[in-house]
Symmetry: C2
Subunit: 342 residues, 2 copies
DNA sequence: AGGCGTTCTGTAAACGTTTACAACGGCGCC
DNA sequence: GGCGCCGTTGTAAACGTTTACAGAACGCCT
């Protein structure tokens, strides 16, 4: 008990060679008698295979990595909830990396692929630098990127059409008669920030609304800063009648601010978020939000990666998830819960 | 580029032995000239050390495990947010295990300690079986359990005084004049379920209130089932004026049901949760909740484990986090946001 | 100049597996 | 009875590190 048992220990106890032990443990054909001896010795000694030795020899770690900006964001959480069971079922462990959206950190994770402690990686970079692309090209293990990536990048890619998503929301608000539609965005140097900013301007144009830069306020992607950004916007444009937020967390901050300012939602200001997180139905009023299919994207990423692990040489693939508008009471007063007709 | 470079490759390129390469890479004293040659060869070849080989030799994986029932629960999330950066700073990666509160699964994770792919484990078992205790005793690597564990178990333990927490909540509701205080609990065969059930009865007794078993309803620890359980309770006891929920998720479900039933919160029914998750301030009305110090518990667990990793022989320790009642509008109408005096 | 100590380097073994290859025994067949 | 074949087993090498140990180079002192 004091020494950790290895296949050598088992071999001695069972009176066979280590090769036989290994064969039995891996289910290769063996004489019943040998198998019996080995199995009983293994059980008796409480043998557990050493994963480092196994990895060293087999060149597989049975681990996959998931790198995101911040595990506190419910979007990533929704993805993990899909990804985790898929890999667990396939015999992989999940190694988590929370990078704080720090590029250097993300590059470190990519370098980690070279250490071979993970067999593959799902990554969600908020910013995409040349260094990322270089590392993608040099990577020794398959990578799936969630979020848009150049066409020729040698990685699988799961994306969502956030352009279409923003359009859905803007059209919805416009359809409700709102004309002063503010936009609270995250940093413009992030992939989603940039995409949503462009999409917002486009959507307004398509509806024949003027694009007023003063209607946009940039902050970050969290609730507290979302509240501050919304407050600034509200100060500057007191007569806005709708607020589109680049994600749900920002929208929650905006709801806090509007409530404190005594604006009724949705009567005075309609509010819409993006991501359609679980939390949207918890907020008051329940939040209209553009679903970007977080769960689907997580599942798609996991499946792409699993497939690529088995089928190493296949060409990179792109999966696109369609956005979908989920209307709730924060834009549509007829949906306020507890006030429905019976 | 086609062959993964190893220290052998580097040694050839630099014209030194593999021992020298290893020494340079590990910062052991070397002649400046050698160091220069090795470093430049390593950089040129894009060398990355192989973690399996390193682990095999050093007997450390630089990974730690975190096992919880379900990563979707915001309590565990709050813990991870504390734990992740602590271990990252100390050079460890975090391996996630979501066990669905399945005992067999948890035992598997414990067995994993023997595979040595993690150097230590933080675990939150919802149920604690004899098998758990056996595995704790046999474990080759340090374990920290969050949640109560027998005094003599050979593991570090971070607990919270949920008894005191329940008492705080019941006293608060009683102080508001509520006398028909319902209790929506999770399964009684779980550690927290059992503790909270006993504490609820005790707290009532201490206040001289009768204990009416009909005021208790058992479900699970999630929102949907929380809603169903609350609905059943409400059907059975239409005149209850307060509802204590064994965690916040249950409370959110209860809020849904009460709203649909046309009961005003807090005027008709005061609602309190436990865990004081982030989401409590998102709900409507904002949820009064007993903070069980999730973040503190996470941090404490991480620190205990790190300490134990450095100081292997020290005796098991117990850290207790005190609960704290956070009063919000779901029990106290004077706190409804947007209605404060200026 | 010889001996000694210091500093650095190389050789080789070890960590615990998997697996190519050879050896072995038993069996059927001619 | 010898041959070949098959199924099973053992030996040994390999995976990429770290590290104990011995040896080499060098400067310094007497």
């Amino acid at each position: 008990m004091t020494e950790e048992p290895t296949i050598t220990t088992i071999a001695q106890h069972a009176g066979v060679s280590i090769a036989s032990v290994s064969r039995v443990l891996n289910g290769l054909p063996t004489k019943a008698e040998t198998e019996r001896k080995v199995m009983s010795a293994a059980r008796e000694l409480g043998y557990v295979p050493n994963s480092a030795a196994r990895s060293l020899k087999s060149r597989r770690s049975n681990q996959i990595g998931f790198a995101m900006a911040d595990i506190g964001n419910p979007v990533y959480l929704a993805m993990i909830r899909e990804i985790q069971p898929i890999f667990k079922a396939a015999g992989y462990r999940l190694v988590l990396h929370s990078t704080d959206a720090d590029t250097a950190d993300e590059i470190d994770v990519l370098r980690g692929l070279g250490e071979r402690y993970i067999d593959g990686l799902i990554m969600i970079p908020l910013r995409l630098t040349g260094e990322h692309l270089t590392m993608f090209a040099a990577a020794r293990a398959p990578i799936v990127v969630i979020g848009s990536v150049p066409e020729d990048a040698p990685v699988d890619n799961v994306r969502t059409d956030s352009r279409a998503g923003v359009r859905l929301a803007v059209e919805h608000l416009h359809g409700l008669g709102r004309r002063r539609i503010g936009f609270v965005n995250g940093p413009l140097d992030t992939v989603p920030g940039a995409a949503r900013s462009a999409a917002y301007a486009e959507a307004l144009a398509a509806l024949g609304l003027p694009y007023d830069p003063g209607l946009t306020q940039v902050g970050d992607f969290y609730r507290a800063e979302g509240a501050r950004a919304a407050a600034r916007l509200l100060d500057r444009v007191p007569d806005l009648d709708a607020l589109l937020c680049a994600n749900d967390l920002i929208a929650f901050g905006a709801l806090d601010v509007l409530r404190r300012a005594g604006r009724r939602v949705p009567q005075d200001v309609a509010v819409a978020g993006m991501d359609d997180t679980d939390l949207a139905t918890l907020a008051w009023p329940p939040l209209t939000s553009v679903s970007l299919g977080s769960a689907e994207r997580g599942r798609a990423a996991a499946e792409l990666l699993l497939d690529k692990l088995e089928n190493t040489r296949r060409a990179p693939r792109v999966v696109t998830v369609e956005p979908r508008l989920v209307v709730r009471a924060s834009t549509d007063p007829s949906r306020i819960p507890g006030e429905e007709a019976p």
